[in-house]
Amino acid sequence: MANEFATKPVEDSIARVNGEVAVGEDLDFQRKWWRFENGAWIVFSLIIILDLAGLFGRGPLAKAERRSSDGTLDVKYERIERTDSPSILTMQFGAQAIQDGKIKLYISQSLVKGLGTQRVIPEPEITTVGKAGLTYTFSASEPPASVDLALEPSGPGIYDFVVGVVGAQPVHAKIFVVP
């Protein structure tokens, strides 16, 4: 059993200069640290500039737009999203997208699961569950018509997604979600 009252003689191990206790200043180390600090401030400034530019989402660099090759669908989204932060993906339909007063929109499963679709605005009349995604049916009169998806990604990663009007050319894109 360890002796709880173990003792050790006091030794005067404190460094002294001219009989006085040394301050312990280490200017060589401090100069290196100041150089490191300068670098850190540059990195901090860069982070802010890149953030304002939208490299971490929510800025001009993050905004993206894709159009299907046949012009039925135009998708505006943020190519860089943030985890647990809401955003809107807007889909604008061309005249060819409306068939018999309906728009049938297909969205891949990654938009629902990975990118966390919270709401579809307006609410679809019919939702059909498919193998790799969902098909929403909306009533539509004439263009311009648009549908918004309210996204809120639950985790970081790169997510491929596909959206398209059923029977027309789809739009493929990627969204990078930062932590």
Binding site: V23, G24, E25, D26, A40, W41, D84
Partner: protein, 147 residues
């Protein structure tokens, strides 16, 4: 798992940022430094806790913070190089009636801060100060000039 990692890296990042932001004499903490302390704390809380406001998460993150702090303190006690990295070293601000202007500038400390600490130590004039040292904890210690 993610919450524990957030707490761990959040703690390390805060230690780094506070270390870089600099030591300011504790007793002369100005209102804007109070704002910094509370604001950084609040922002860190938001990012670290996220949307997991459960009691379990709170306990896990507090334990993680405690363990991270213990590890840092243990490292400091075991390695003087590590301690120097985490805490820095004392810095002389005034010696032999000369200001260390470069140190004052780099540490963002004004002569007034030193004079305030001198008054706190019962020294009324600059001529009576033998040495002023910015300690690792941000305090300025003043020793009287030898007669």
């Amino acid at each position: 798992m993610a919450a524990v990692l957030r707490a761990f890296f959040g703690y390390l990042f805060l230690v780094l940022v506070v270390r870089i932001v600099g030591r300011r004499p504790g007793k002369q903490l100005t209102p804007f430094e109070f704002v910094l302390v509370f604001f950084i704390g609040g922002l860190a809380l938001t990012a670290i806790v996220g949307n997991e406001a459960s009691f379990t998460n709170g306990i896990c993150q507090i334990v993680t913070m405690g363990l991270a702090h213990y590890t840092l303190a243990w490292g400091r006690s075991k390695s003087s190089r590590f301690a120097r990295l985490v805490d820095g070293t004392p810095l002389i601000l005034l010696e032999k009636q000369n200001w260390r202007v470069n140190t004052l500038r780099r540490m963002r400390i004004k002569n007034d801060d030193v004079i305030a600490s001198a008054r706190d130590s019962g020294i009324g004039t600059l001529q009576e100060i033998g040495q002023a040292v910015l300690e690792r904890n941000g305090e300025i210690s003043i020793s009287a000039r030898a007669e």
